[in-house]
Symmetry: C2
Amino acid sequence: MRHAVIMAGGAGTRLWPLSRRMRPKQLLRLFDGASLLQLVRRRLAGLFAPENIWVVTSAAYLDQVAEQLPDVPRDNLIGEPMGRDTANAIGLAAHLLVRRDRDATMAVFTADHIIQPQTRFAAAIQAGLEAVERFPQSLVTFGITPQSPHTGYGYLHRGELVAPGTWRVAEFKEKPTLETARAYLASGEYYWNSGMFVWRVEAILAELERLLPENARALKRLATDWERVAGTPAAAAAFAQLRRISIDFGVMEHARSVLLVEMTCDWKDLGSWASVASTRTADEAGNVTIAPRAMIVDGRQNVVISEAEHLVVLLGVDDLVVVHSEDATLVCRRHEVERVKDLVERRRKPFGDQYE
Amino acid sequence: MRHAVIMAGGAGTRLWPLSRRMRPKQLLRLFDGASLLQLVRRRLAGLFAPENIWVVTSAAYLDQVAEQLPDVPRDNLIGEPMGRDTANAIGLAAHLLVRRDRDATMAVFTADHIIQPQTRFAAAIQAGLEAVERFPQSLVTFGITPQSPHTGYGYLHRGELVAPGTWRVAEFKEKPTLETARAYLASGEYYWNSGMFVWRVEAILAELERLLPENARALKRLATDWERVAGTPAAAAAFAQLRRISIDFGVMEHARSVLLVEMTCDWKDLGSWASVASTRTADEAGNVTIAPRAMIVDGRQNVVISEAEHLVVLLGVDDLVVVHSEDATLVCRRHEVERVKDLVERRRKPFGDQYE
């Protein structure tokens, strides 16, 4: 059977003050009332049965995730006691999944991005599933056809073509310099590393055991006992001892066979308020409002974001980002929104705990 | 006996979104937790006994006024069913006052200004009271020694000196052009018309009867029956028929004898967020924060105002005014705050009723 695992563990300080420790980016309902998590789940409709959709998230977010995904069985929501990076999140999901379905095919999705159009997304996933059928020992990673020389992503260099739109991965590349990114783009051989995968659950478990044996053993023990220990101090203690490591660094870069399936989609990482704004069409004055009540008078190129019915009025100002949450408001320059992360992480002390 | 009447009826759209129809400027607690009304009342301490302090306000604000001035007798709070300008507000107070104290001296104060220092304010009031003792038929108006060629105030031209710091008023002047205001300032003979007065209650009643006989008659009838009709549709109906007219235009400019007592105080009209900000000392970067929780990072010359515990963060922005209220937030340029009045008055429709 096909299973989908949605990775929804991140916190996202760059979307402060809407995103908080207890209200992470992927749960914010910024897209006509839907959250990124809900958009991912919609994207999977027709590809995976609801009872085969799983979510790995922080234990603290379980109730919010359950509320946002009412058709996903509560038993499929895996709450990590703490973040231990993607190798462990995926490993735990794989061990839980194999106990339910020994013959499972497992696809992994992130909840940080807007991906469009749906048809091409679905076609790429279909191609990935077919690649796994044909090469059941391989791990398949999805590569996004780059649309710009982005220096904020890792890249995949494709090698030998094994099927239409499917290659062996020649090399994993860290975030490049602008010059290198331009060369990647020009060559046509490089893809953005999407963090989305598909594989036979047996294949990923075998590689985990080979490459990260200690983590694999601990995760298997946890999974065996999960119904009993989930949410207890014992689970937290076991997690605390797991070595933190990403799936790319811990597994993909060293796996015996990795294939790349291309995904020719528009892929927007919602890593800042500017990127959230870029998901909307601006009005004639270049303003973007994602708010039930906002009024911009005589202003250009502003972004106003608010979840609530709070009225936000901008009068005669340009190039600002104004974000209102129930207990905090941010006003900053539009081209400086990247500084929010720094502000929140370095300066959270003066804010006081309740604003984290 | 000496009585003080505080005029506290205005609404103040220029301090939106904190000031509202039901939360007028004079009741906003912007001064270390005190409102303008409370500052006026403090200013009168030692000059008037609490039982001789009266407030004329909108009937809609009576409860808030009572809560803010707990030592003023509730019977001294006069609630107008609707605004009918200062001649009628003062006239109603005079008629109510004379029924309690036939021999009263009545001083009138506004609740729109910050006046400092207290010692000079008290000295001027004392001089006014003495002028009334010596000239019991005269109406005394307080003139503020101008500190700039302000074009937003009316002016008083002083005439014959009758006592130290006390002159006959030669002429009332409307708001001048800048050129005229500069000439006024240079001459040393002109004062800002403060809207503060002192007189024998008999003297003002006589002038009201002579100059505005219809209003005087209606107000006398209302006062006779006030305990019974206050707050009823009958009072509203009577008010609705009163001719709207200001005390300056209706009485002072035509009165038989008007004296000017100079008040050499710093006198700040809180007519905009800029003037509210000017009551505070800015920090090294020129920022003014009147908010329990505000943080300005790498920004200059900003003004942040909030009554509530809402956290307002400004990051890398300059010359902005940001005002947060429970249900609305305003962001505008500091030198354009005067536009707020226009925005609220012309555009209140799109805001929706609850934001007025």
